[in-house]
């Protein structure tokens, strides 16, 4: 069989994840300590796990309705109202999905036709571009800069919009930079979008993990934006439920309806056990979110100070659980830096260019690790900088 000829060209052309390549390298290092993962180190709070077990004990092992359990959709709407001042109708404006990832996929599939442009701010999580190209969409990369603290610049956005622009991906709080958008940033972006036909896919999966003075604000809560926004969120990061694979999308009924239709054919329904567990998460676990956020915040400060002390300047990330230090002072590329660090000191970071060209010169550091683990990694990175004779390293 000539498989290469059989594979659909659009699938063959999908850009592989830059993280994956590095993972294979790291997996061969026995002593490797990683600051690479993109998932919480906490276990799912016990009340949530218990609710999952309970649902199994009661034999709730069948499909749910395509859009998800009604009770869960109602709780999602209450939660979004309580936390982010968003108003959604649980019957027509919510779709429960297999993680936030599926919600992104469904949204792009529902909206993007061949030739449509999708504006993707970078650096960003690796999934948006391949999903776009699979639909025949054209990714338009919009670099975010350190000068703007990696926030999306409204003026740059205005210039990127063309008559073919269908969708703007808005991935904040951001993986990998940890950047957040404040109200004035969102206002400026909203002002550019009002009166256009551009839909916003607002990926708010890290919405509970913000550390600044202000809580996360959803662009859909701004005047005139709900009608042009699909909010994607989920349980993975806020409730440490990555393995449960549960997320959701909320948006205008006509879009959610089409997404539900695709979801019905492609997925059927999100995992039933996870849905029952998630109801308890939304009802009872605000406190647990807070505890995890406090813990991340302490690690965040430790890591940011650690890198700045080492001379690898690190702007203050106010969201998610990543720091994004600049490694340009070493004179190396991101790939070189991370590869040599891995080989010489067995510490795995993710090179910034894995998240788009504008990530070059940086690397992503996850602080979803214990303080002891973080300190050991920082120590080794310090030794590495000395060995390579990097300027401005301490001591």
């Amino acid at each position: 069989m000539e498989y290469e000829k059989l594979i659909a060209p659009a699938a063959a052309a999908m850009r592989p994840s830059g993280i994956r390549k590095f993972f294979d390298l790291a997996a061969e290092m026995p002593e490797c300590i990683s600051l690479g993962v993109g998932e919480p180190d906490f276990k799912t709070p016990w009340a949530i796990r218990e609710a999952g077990i309970d649902s199994l004990e009661h034999g709730r092992t069948r499909y749910t309705s395509n859009a998800g359990l009604k009770e869960l959709r109602v709780e999602i709407c209450r939660y979004l109202k309580r936390r982010f001042e968003l108003d959604y109708d649980p019957l027509h404006e919510v779709l429960v999905t297999v993680g936030g990832s599926e919600a992104i996929d469904m949204c792009v599939r529902a909206l993007v036709s061949p030739g449509d442009e999708v504006i993707i701010p970078e650096p960003c999580f690796v999934c948006y571009e391949p999903i776009t190209t699979l639909s025949g969409g054209v990714p338009v990369h919009l670099p975010c800069r350190l000068e703007d603290e990696f926030r999306l610049n409204a003026e740059a956005l205005r210039q990127a919009i063309t008559p073919r622009t269908k969708l703007l991906i808005l991935p904040f709080p951001n993986n990998p930079t940890g950047a957040v958008l404040e109200r004035e940033d969102l206002e400026a972006i909203a002002e550019v979008l009002r009166g256009t036909n551009v839909i916003v896919l607002s990926d708010e999966i890290y919405s509970e993990l913000t550390y600044g003075a202000n809580r996360h604000i959803s662009i859909a809560s701004l005047p005139g934006m709900k009608e042009r926004t699909v909010v994607v969120n989920g349980f993975s990061k806020s409730y440490a439920m990555t393995g449960w694979r549960l997320g959701y999308a909320c948006g205008p009924a006509p879009i959610i309806q089409i997404m539900t239709k695709i979801h019905q054919s492609a997925i059927m329904s999100a995992p039933t056990t996870s849905q029952y567990a998630a109801i308890v998460a939304l009802k009872e676990c605000d406190k647990e979110i807070e505890q995890m956020r406090d813990e991340y915040n302490m690690r965040r400060r430790l890591v940011v100070k650690g890198f700045n002390d080492l001379g690898l300047t690190c702007f203050e990330p106010k969201g998610a659980f990543y720091a994004f230090p600049c490694i340009q002072s070493t004179g190396m590329t991101s790939q070189e830096f991370c590869t040599r660090l891995l080989e010489q000191k067995h510490v795995a970071l993710v090179p910034g260019d894995a998240f788009g060209d504008s990530g070059e010169g940086y690397c992503r550091v996850s602080y979803a690790y214990s303080v002891e683990h973080l300190k050991e990694a920082l120590k080794r990175i310090g030794e590495f900088l000395q060995e390579i004779g990097a300027p401005c390293a301490e001591q």
Partner: protein, 157 residues
């Protein structure tokens, strides 16, 4: 202050500089807070979790359930404080439920603990009865696993 106490409860040996970074304060501020917490009695002391079984040192530990008769004016305080003043006694807790006080006793041998119960504890006027349970093995203590390692099952990246 609560955050500081949580950090110390989890790892008392973290350098002041690290704690300061974690709290967004200066090392001097954190030192002052620690002194204050100590002075106010919020911090009772610092100890080390030792796996004595692994260290090959014989240690015997027992949990003792006590029924006592509370005093009209002072409740359980008098007898609890009396027992707490014995050096052999590691902890004294007033409990809800089936008994009144729970003690944890550590000694070198079974006999040493048995003698302590027979000669010092049981004869006390207010002690009505004792039930001694010897610890056979420690699996977890103060949140740390003793018989297996914590494994990070996440992918590397």
């Amino acid at each position: 202050m609560e955050q500081l106490l949580k950090i110390l409860e989890n790892n008392a040996r973290l350098p002041v500089e690290d704690i300061a970074a974690m709290l967004g304060k200066s090392p001097a501020e954190v030192s002052a807070m620690m002194d204050l917490a100590r002075a106010q009695g919020l911090i009772k002391g610092y100890k080390t979790l030792v796996d004595w079984e692994k260290a090959g040192v014989d240690r015997v530990e027992a949990v003792i359930e006590l029924h006592v008769s509370p005093k009209k004016s002072r409740g359980f305080d008098e007898i609890a404080n009396t027992i707490a003043s014995f050096d052999e006694v590691e902890s004294v807790l007033l409990m809800s439920g089936g008994y009144d006080l729970q003690l944890v006793i550590k000694g070198k041998t079974f006999q040493e603990i048995a003698l302590f119960v027979a000669k010092r504890l049981s004869p006390l006027d207010d002690v009505l009865s004792t039930a001694t349970h010897f610890v056979l093995r420690t699996y977890k203590r103060e949140g740390k696993l003793y018989q297996m390692d914590e494994i990070d099952e996440r992918e590397l990246l």
